[in-house]
């Protein structure tokens, strides 16, 4: 298999790089953007760097795109279907980490954990106690997208006595949470709004000005979000993802009512290794003519 050309789109995991290097002819796009086009039979992308139509057209021997992520909005799926190119992602292995982080973000935002940490480190505590913060237990949590991750978040929020409701493409009455047929109604009835759905053409900008106004001072069209936060129309936001990562609107940097994380939803040693193993297994299965483990297309 060492002769199979695999194009890795950006640095994403040194463990993954090593595993790919051992098995394939690994080409690193960030070092060699122009070379080896005819020998590339697989692309490995991630949440922020995928494969657009232009790249796919440029790789005539491309057979499979194996994404080091569960989100695949940066891959031109239509083009892949058209050309018979397989696509795989990494569902399930990262569900718990992302759900854990969602609760972590809510607690960090409501209880101002980041500021508390800075408050002590800077020596300010000597001059007075920190301000009152907002209780999490018992607050209503509205989840947009009750898939694997959304369900895991719901289970966790339940343990904090939070009434959980959701909006999803379909109602899921077996789970026992309250369903709202529109995003707006979900926002109107939630203290805390959690966005856990995939980004598709249908969901782009779904958290718009109307939705944010419904949430009130107590995600996402990012420009609208920044305005809503800086103008005080939205109580706060805890964000692990942004429209143009790693670029984050600088207006957010000075705000106290935000928590900003560099897309670390699945960034633990254990989960990244599990995701990497899944990427490699999908590629090996494909080139051995076996069924893909986690195909999307």
């Amino acid at each position: 298999m060492e002769s199979i050309g695999v194009l890795m789109m950006c640095p994403m995991s040194s463990y993954l790089e090593n595993e790919l290097q051992k098995r394939f002819n690994l080409v690193r796009f960030w070092n060699f953007p122009e070379t080896h086009r005819n020998s590339i039979r697989a692309v490995v992308g991630n949440a922020s760097t995928g494969a657009d139509a232009e790249l796919i057209d440029d790789l005539p021997k491309l057979e499979i795109i194996s994404s080091f992520s569960v989100g695949i909005d940066k891959i031109d799926l239509g083009k892949c279907k058209e050309k018979g190119i397989r696509v795989t992602n990494t569902p399930d292995v990262l569900t718990e980490d992302v759900a854990d982080l969602a609760i972590g973000l809510i607690l960090a935002l409501l209880r101002r954990l980041c500021e508390c940490d800075s408050y002590v480190r800077s020596g300010k505590w000597k001059y007075g106690g920190f301000q009152l913060t907002t209780k999490f237990s018992g607050k209503s949590v509205g989840i947009l997208g009750l898939g694997r991750i959304g369900t895991a978040i719901a289970k966790r929020a339940d343990a904090f006595s939070c009434p959980v409701s959701y909006h999803s493409r379909r109602a899921k009455p077996d789970l026992g949470y309250k369903y709202y047929p529109t995003v707006l109604e979900l926002a109107e009835n939630s203290d805390i709004f959690v966005v856990a759905c995939p980004l598709t053409d249908q969901t782009r900008g779904i958290v718009n000005r109307q939705v944010m106004d419904a949430l009130g001072a107590k995600g996402v069209d990012e420009q609208e979000l920044v305005k809503a936060l800086t103008e005080g129309r939205l109580g706060g936001a805890a964000l692990d993802v942004f429209e143009q990562e790693p670029h984050v609107p600088e207006e957010l940097f000075q705000l106290e009512n935000v928590v900003l994380l560099p897309h670390v939803g699945s960034s633990t040693v254990e989960t990244e290794n599990a995701m990497a193993d899944l990427v490699v297994s999908n590629l090996e299965a494909h080139f051995a003519g076996k069924s893909l483990l986690t195909p999307v297309v």
């Binding site: 980041c114 508390c116 560099p262």
Partner: protein, 319 residues
């Protein structure tokens, strides 16, 4: 109509939140407004006082008590009563109440928040983004997975039980050490802190501080916990041998800590400020409006019961 009872309020000048609620039902006397030394003030003005409200942690010791001959009740707005000489209260027939479960949810929430913040490096990651480093340098350091971690709770009371309940859906395996071991508790019991530490990845401290528990987390316990182990403290600073804790953190004897309490607050060992394996917090686990409302209601409830000769709402055991 009889004059309303006199209640003595022993508090720091900044903690005013009980004054208005108390004055709806009682005449209040505050210890900090007089320029007289405390013993003189008490002798002059408080000899008929039957109830004291203790806010913050000014010591209520034998000397203080000796100047209040009529005292029968101390209402504390904290959960911890380590600032009160409980044996002396027992000797004098003085009842003591605390904050009961008024803060439990907020403290349990906070303990989980500290744990996730530590494992997933939330404060440091937030600083990384705000400083522009994400755009410049790319990926942040990996964190540690919470699911599947073994968590040992020291003190399975009101707060400890709520912490356990919250961590269960995260896939954590819960065990505990507590003064009471009950058959009905579904978690594994360890007979002492060293074995609790040896068999867990995380220990969460939420037990009372008293003579038996002072420095209960010492060097031996930390070595037992090990280099990947995490301590979360939402109890009292005195539960941990702080000097040893700093050494263990700096030397990597333990993996890290999330700390909301310290031995000499607001003093914090400066060696901690530069470490990335700690999350620090200014004793704020209870600090939400909801918790304060709860404790006001509870304090008033205890006072009302006392003056009506009815059972107290949240009495503390004095032995």
């Amino acid at each position: 109509m009889a004059e309303s009872p006199l209640v003595l309020v022993h508090r720091p000048p900044t903690m005013k939140y009980m004054d208005e609620p108390l004055s709806r039902y009682y005449r209040i006397l505050t210890t900090h407004t007089s320029s007289d030394p405390l013993p003189i003030f008490l002798s002059r003005h408080a000899s008929s006082v039957r109830a004291v409200v203790s806010i913050g942690r000014f010591k209520i010791d034998a000397d203080f008590l000796s100047h209040l001959p009529s005292l029968q009740l101390i209402v504390c707005t904290s959960v911890g009563t380590d600032h009160v000489d409980l044996p002396e209260c027992k000797r004098r027939g003085i009842s003591v109440t605390n904050a009961g479960g008024a803060y439990s949810e907020d403290v349990a929430d906070y303990a989980v928040g500290l744990l996730i913040s530590f494992l997933r490096r939330i404060p440091a990651a937030d600083r990384y983004v705000r400083s522009g480093k994400w755009a410049k340098y790319g990926e942040f350091q990996l964190g540690i997975k919470l699911s599947g971690k073994r968590v040992g709770i020291l003190g399975l009371g009101s707060i400890g039980s709520l912490i356990a309940k919250r961590l269960e859906p995260f896939g954590c395996i819960i065990s505990y050490n507590s003064t009471c071991q009950k058959q009905s508790i579904p978690y594994l019991y360890y007979p002492d802190v060293v074995s609790l530490a040896a068999n867990n990845d995380v220990i969460i401290l939420c037990c009372a501080l008293n003579d038996q528990t002072r420095h209960i987390v010492n060097r031996e316990v930390m070595e037992s916990l090990g280099k990947n182990g995490v301590i979360i403290n939402v109890g009292r600073g005195g539960l941990i041998d702080e000097k040893e804790l700093v050494k263990c953190l700096v030397e990597g004897v333990i993996g890290g800590a999330g700390l909301d309490a310290f031995e000499k607050e607001p003093g914090v060992p400066a060696e901690l400020f530069g470490l990335d394996n700690v999350v620090l917090s200014p004793h704020t686990a209870i600090a939400t409006p909801g918790s304060f409302n709860n404790v006001v209601e509870l304090a008033l409830g205890n006072l009302k019961a006392f003056f009506l000769n009815q059972p107290l709402v949240s009495p503390v055991r004095l032995d």
